[in-house]
């Protein structure tokens, strides 16, 4: 099954990350091809989510996320609040990782976020400059499990062995990473409640990962260049908030951001079988995109933007009555700009085959969780359903094909506050 070609090697690495553990790690290390660049703690950005300047761009200026992602939804094991000693051990462990790996896609990018449940451990509440409500359902038709673990550690790298080794090391199962000694670990007080994995791009087309995965029909003809199961590129630079625009501006958590992460199961039978390419373009982008043949293949020809114009975002009920469909991008564009015209959300979604099901891990970073909620509620198309041709989940963008399984909200503090912050922004 795993041959020597690049494609099968990448597929092996993807599967290894999904499985996890020491066995998977050693198998990856045997196959590792290039040395991983070591880290330089003097060169680290303040923001944990400062990734864009540390990953490559494509020819259109869209940033490319690292290939492999591990999401560790974890709990602090004790009641009450972590001790200063535990905070120190956590910070020491993270600094060891930073010394071991370059802060880049070739090394390791990671961030630690804290949930509202975590902050409830403290007597005082978060300042008003932080908007971090508990997660909740964001449509009338979803019943997600709410992720209320204390924290989320996301690890990302182009190298499978790096995310696997970092995971093992931070939890105390490994003393050394990339020849750097781990000076501490968090294994005594952090427990992983849910381990989820994802992958994207970097020459890893989604089509390679579909074998034996529930949710994608064998007949699906996913374009070779598509990084996503739905067959189109996403995350156009023109439609991404800058890291400056998602940074909290003031208060004790200045330079932090909020992170909403959903896990969305994809059921693409009808997407690929009942619909033709033109239908898919109309539901992903707009009917105009379909009629005017604006999208070729996976949509790389669109460059750095999705091609949504103001005209495509007005009179959607009329459009729906005429064409019988409204596009996902078309609906969302109406809500994803602030008063000054800046894009609000910064999306970093990756594909997943966890447990054998096709799904999407969808982190969205923004200044306030409420901003995400407004855009997501807009995606429901409540106003567009005035047209009888648009149903709650049918002909309504891509809602027919996605099922939200999890939602969680986290605060991603500045690097200096990342190890067990208090609601006042100090480290315990």
């Amino acid at each position: 099954m795993f041959g020597t070609s690049d494609g099968s090697r990448r597929e092996f690495m993807r599967a290894a990350v999904a499985i996890g553990g020491a066995g998977a790690l050693s198998a990856c290390m045997e196959r590792a091809q290039e040395p991983v660049p070591p880290g330089d703690r003097g060169a680290l950005p303040t923001r944990q989510y400062a990734w864009v300047d540390h990953v490559p761009e494509d020819e259109h200026g869209n940033f490319r996320l690292p290939r492999h992602h591990v999401f560790l939804y974890s709990n602090y094991e004790e009641d009450g609040t972590p001790s200063a000693d535990e905070a120190d051990r956590l910070e020491t462990a993270l600094r060891s990782l930073e010394r071991a790996y370059q802060w880049s896609n070739q090394g390791l990018l990671f961030s630690l976020g804290y949930s509202p449940s975590y902050f409830e451990r403290f007597d005082r509440s978060l300042p008003s400059s932080v908007d971090l409500p508990a997660p909740r359902r964001l449509s009338d038709f979803e019943e997600p499990d709410l992720d209320e673990q204390d924290l989320l550690l996301q690890l990302a790298s182009d190298s499978a062995e790096v995310v696997l080794a970092a995971e093992e090391a931070v939890l105390g199962a490994r003393d050394e990473v990339n020849t750097v000694e781990m000076e501490a670990d968090a294994g005594d007080f952090l427990t992983v409640d849910e381990r989820r994995t994802g992958f994207i791009s970097g020459g890893m087309p989604a089509e390679k990962a579909t074998e034996g995965v529930e949710g994608i029909p064998t007949e699906a003809n996913i374009p070779e260049q598509s990084p996503l199961f739905m067959g189109f590129k996403g995350g156009f630079a023109d439609n991404q908030a800058s890291e400056d625009h998602i940074a909290i501006e003031e208060g004790p958590f200045a330079e932090a951001t909020t992170k909403h992460v959903s896990n969305i199961r994809q059921r693409l039978q009808d997407w690929y079988i009942e619909q033709d390419f033109e239908d898919r373009v109309a539901e992903m982008f707009s009917a105009t995109h379909a009629k005017e043949e604006m999208v070729e293949g996976a949509g790389l020809n669109l460059g750095d933007g999705s091609g949504i114009t103001d005209a495509m975002t007005t009179d959607l009920v009329e459009t729906a009555n005429e064409y019988g469909r409204v596009g996902h991008a078309q609906k969302n564009a109406r809500f994803n700009r602030d008063a000054d015209g800046n894009v609000i959300l910064h999306r970093r979604h990756v594909e997943s085959t966890d447990n054998g099901y096709a799904s999407l891990h969808f982190p969205s970073l923004q200044r306030e969780i409420s901003q995400f909620e407004r855009v997501r509620v807009g995606m429901n198309g409540d106003d567009v359903r005035e047209s009888p041709r648009i149903r709650q989940r049918v002909n309504n963008g891509i809602l027919e094909y996605i099922f939200t399984l999890h939602r969680g909200n986290f605060l991603v503090p500045a690097r200096s506050q990342r190890s067990f912050p208090t609601p006042a922004g100090e480290v315990v």
Partner: protein
């Protein structure tokens, strides 16, 4: 692919004035067979189907797998053999695609346990889990009209062979306007697990029979299965308010009436249209209806809103200050179906309610 290209033009000359009830409007004809659990099946050739509601070529048996309640909703799940149905997009009608691995047709119904009103315009999905709790399929399923099954939600699904399954049926909180007794109901999503037993013995019973009057204008009568409502609307004579009559457009029956002094119209009378299938009186959801008033001064056009009311049931309505003058015959009223019912059809319904002409209302009829 079958394409029908007619588009009802908004503001076209009002034609086809028909008032009163068509004969047989409220009576279904009896099923062909022995009165056991049966249901219509599509005629694959489909040539020569009459351009209106007709008796389909086949009827197939099905089984009730179970029921369950959650929140404001009551559910049932039935299965039968996979079958073709017809998807409607605007005025295009196209056959669904059958695959070799389709095992069963899953039919879910959802209704209000208090009134027995079947609920259209919900977002329904079904997840089938195997005995180990693994998801075998999960998809949004479509609202459908079937002469024997009534109004329901259905899909053909691929199971992993014979065995015991769980159908996890989920409905979204309703989003169309609900009024009066239904105002605060059906807001939240709900779901139930119903055990489904798909056995070889059962599959062998999904046999077809052939109605004697297949292909003729008419309809099989709906099948009663326990508590499950067929979705039939009240007879025109039993609808509330002052009747404006019942007209026909592409074989749809549009019953119209006026209510006064209700919360629906506010300070004004309320015009409602209750479109239904002939014979079985199933609701015709997801239309766009406009009312056109012809006064001495000219013409006024109003869009009707899709609503669910505990007395009127599923209907289309609008406040209409001119209602007394309409009832007196001083102002002409027409109804323009700008979008025909965007609901999936089983055989027998796919040629009707697609190319709907505007109608005029004759309150004296």
């Amino acid at each position: 692919m079958r394409r029908r290209t007619y588009l009802a033009t908004v503001g076209a000359t009002l034609t086809g004035a028909v008032a009163g009830c068509a004969s047989g409007d409220d009576g279904g004809r009896e099923g062909n067979a022995d009165g056991t659990e049966e249901r219509t099946e599509h005629d694959e050739e489909h040539s020569g189907a009459p351009d209106r509601v007709y008796v389909p070529e086949h009827a197939t048996a099905m089984t009730m797998e179970g029921m369950g309640g959650d929140g404001d909703f009551q559910f049932s799940v039935m299965i039968s053999s996979p079958e073709l149905f017809f998807l409607v997009e605007g005025t295009d009608v196209r056959e669904s695609i059958l695959f070799d691995d389709h095992s069963v047709h899953v039919m879910a119904s959802v209704w209000d346990p208090e009134t027995g009103v079947a609920l259209p315009e919900t977002g329904m999905s079904v997840e089938m889990l195997d005995a180990d709790g693994r998801t075998v399929t999960q998809e949004v399923i479509y609202p459908m009209l079937s002469q024997r099954m009534g109004f329901h939600y259905g899909a053909n699904v691929a199971l992993d062979g014979y065995g015991e399954y769980t159908a996890r049926v989920s409905v979204g909180g309703m989003e169309i306007e609900r009024t009066r007794g239904f105002a605060d109901r059906f807001d939240d999503p709900a779901s139930v697990d119903v055990p489904v037993s798909f056995t070889e013995a059962k599959a062998e019973k999904f046999t077809e029979s052939n109605p004697a009057d297949a292909g003729e204008h008419g309809a099989l009568s709906p099948m009663e299965m326990g508590m499950r409502p067929t979705g039939a609307l009240p007879k025109a004579a039993d609808m509330p308010g002052t009747a404006l009559g019942t007209t026909t457009s592409d074989d749809a029956r549009l019953h119209m009436g006026v209510l006064t002094d209700t919360a629906l119209g506010g300070d004004d009378p309320y015009l409602y249209v209750s479109p239904r299938t002939p014979y079985n009186r199933f609701p015709l959801p997801n239309m766009l209806l406009r009312a056109v008033l012809h006064t001495g001064d000219g013409r006024r056009e109003l869009e009707l809103t899709r609503r669910l009311d505990d007395d009127l049931n599923y209907h289309y309505g609008v406040s209409l200050p001119e209602a007394p003058a309409v009832l007196a015959g001083e102002i002409g009223l027409g109804i323009v179906p700008s979008v025909s019912p965007q609901v999936t059809r089983h055989a027998g319904y796919e040629t009707a309610f697609v190319e709907m002409d505007p109608v005029t209302v004759d309150p004296s009829g």
